[in-house]
């Protein structure tokens, strides 16, 4: 009986496994294979060597990390205290969450496109800055690092916020009360009780935010200087594939992107398991 139901369950998994193999594992394997071959199909490391010896390509790693890491840290860093503040609800929470969800739904393309006008030299933001006499001449927010970082942050921050809000409001409030009754002040309660319980949520939202920021493509193209200082790694891969039609080189860059990504996630998860050790299972309210 048990065996039968197990086989039934496995049957139910077949469509999803077929999907995963055909549309993810096979393309990924194909990419790995392509990255390790020449155009004629013979084995080579040349595609990787080319990337690591070509200064223009190699620096895309630094450029992308230089956008993704600070923006993700900032997004999560602002979201944590904000969610802590909102953990038991604040007036207008529904409207606030609505404004946070809007950029997530609209996507990077619309946000970046809109930023060009809104944050441009004659846009509303600069009009406001000039009216308040915060600067002598219009501040440049577009076609530079700031533009890309703001656009990625506008996208990532709400994501981190909504994810952490779900997490932090799920922590049993009795734990906080208990800690206060035992004489801990707010600061101690936060660092010794709440923060450790939030670590898994922080780790996950950091990872997902980083993934989004690291594969930044539309915002770098629209709001940065994609030929120079903001030539991100995704753009390098795209150019090799669809401008130079060298799919072997493009696949190698794709594989490098995935490897860096997984490396960062591994580091974050290691940090998480060092700090966390399964404490919040009792903490979940």
């Amino acid at each position: 009986m048990k065996g039968r139901s197990r086989n039934g369950a496995l049957l139910l998994l077949i469509p999803a496994i077929v999907f995963l193999v055909l549309l993810f594992i096979y393309p990924f394997g194909y990419g790995l294979y392509t990255s390790l071959t020449k155009a004629d199909g013979s084995f080579t490391f040349a595609n990787y060597i080319r990337f690591f010896t070509n200064e223009r390509d190699l620096r895309t790693i630094g450029v992308t990390l230089g956008i993704a890491v600070p923006v993700t840290l900032l997004a999560v860093g602002i979201a944590v205290p904000l969610c802590y503040h909102m953990r038991r609800g604040v007036p207008g929470e529904k409207i606030i969450s609505f404004f946070f969800i809007v950029p997530v739904t609209l996507g990077t393309v619309l946000i970046s496109e809109g930023m060009l006008t809104f944050m441009g030299p004659n846009g509303w933001l600069n009009q406001l800055i000039m009216a308040l006499h915060l600067a002598q001449k219009p501040v440049q927010f577009t076609h530079n690092y700031a533009g890309v970082a703001i656009s990625v942050g506008l996208q990532g921050f709400p994501y981190a916020f909504l994810m952490l809000l779900g997490y932090i409001s799920g922590i049993n409030p009795d734990l906080e009360k208990a800690s206060q009754m035992l004489g801990a002040n707010k600061w101690q309660t936060f660092w010794k009780v709440l923060f450790p319980l939030m670590v898994p949520g922080i780790a996950i939202s950091f990872c997902l935010n980083f993934v989004m920021a690291f594969s930044v493509y539309p915002s770098a193209v629209l709001l940065g200087q994609p030929s120079g200082p903001q030539r991100v790694i995704a753009l390098a891969a795209y150019q090799w594939a669809f401008e130079k039609f060298n799919f072997n080189a493009a696949s190698a860059i794709s594989m490098i992107m995935a490897a860096i990504e997984l490396l960062v996630i591994a580091v974050v998860l290691a940090w998480r398991s060092k700090l966390y050790k399964g404490a919040s299972i009792v903490g979940k309210g």
């Binding site: 496995l10 469509p15 999803a16 739904t105 609209l106 506008l154």
Partner: protein, 274 residues
């Protein structure tokens, strides 16, 4: 006591500053896009001086707007339906059955969410060109399943876990066949989950960009990809015309979001992982 109250005030003030700043930027971006699309010669000043609808006509001449909207919805709806057909049985099996390698399988299913789309998208696009899927609507539907299915599995699993096994066992004891149990017991009980997963994925798939961008052609692209191409080729057309297309996209995405918020809460738009 006074110190505590001051501290509370500071945290309240900081909270308000962050919220106000964020809302100002988001509203500012959206309003300038809308105003700019209706404006003529708005180079300075708070508001445009001349209003016009000509950019919409212009955008309509450059793109087959009905076709763009049609493809966008066709892709989104097809992905939701096919996605549910694939992920509901899988989520059921993962929520109920215990078997060797379950944890491994689950993390494999989540892998497409943590690998950036640009990384697996390029080999996937190469295969699409090889198998003549690129440039066709069916290709756009197929590639966008990759981010949708794992998301759906994640959303559905807790809903299935919530439904106790008792009802299923009772139905089995009363002689119901597996198919009947699925159709008459499980699906009605998990309707909220199916609805949530479907709506969230619909909203999500309208804004999916990367994979569509890599493989779509003129007739198989979605609005968001057309919008990016227009914005990228700035200079080739007036920015107001790009904004007109942006407003059309904005209107569609916003309508879907507002409808969806009647059924789901904003925190569900991002998924939770335990």
């Amino acid at each position: 006591m006074i110190a505590v109250r001051n501290k509370l005030k500071i945290s309240n003030a900081l909270f308000m500053i962050v919220i106000v700043l964020f809302v100002f930027i988001v509203l500012g971006i959206l309003l300038t896009v809308v105003l700019n699309s209706f404006s003529k010669g708005w180079y300075s000043g708070l508001l445009p001086k001349v209003f016009t609808a000509e950019w919409y006509k212009y955008a309509g001449q450059e793109h087959k707007i009905p076709r763009l909207i049609g493809v966008t919805f066709l892709v989104a709806i097809a992905d939701v339906l096919i996605g549910l057909l694939i992920s509901f049985p899988a989520a059921y099996a993962l929520a109920r059955a215990e078997f060797k390698g379950k944890a491994l399988l689950l993390s494999l299913f989540l892998l497409p969410m943590i690998v950036p789309p640009m990384a697996y998208g390029i080999p996937l696009a190469m295969l699409c060109y090889k198998f003549h899927l690129a440039g066709r609507v069916i290709g756009t539907i197929v590639v966008n399943l990759v981010p949708i299915v794992p998301f759906m599995i994640l959303v559905l699993m807790p809903f299935i876990e919530q439904v106790g096994t008792n009802l299923e066992s009772a139905a089995k004891m009363l002689g119901a066949k597996r198919g009947t149990i699925f159709a008459k017991v499980l699906i009605p009980l998990t309707t909220p989950g199916l609805l949530t997963a479907g709506i969230l994925s619909l909203v999500k798939s309208i804004s999916l960009f990367d994979l569509t961008y890599l493989i779509a052609g003129e007739n198989s692209q979605t609005i968001v990809v057309a919008l990016f191409t227009d914005a990228y080729a700035a200079g080739a057309r007036p920015p107001q015309a790009t904004d007109a297309l942006a407003v059309i996209y904005f209107a569609i995405a916003m309508t879907c979001l507002l409808v969806s918020l009647r059924f789901v809460s904003p925190t569900q738009m991002v998924f939770k992982v335990k």
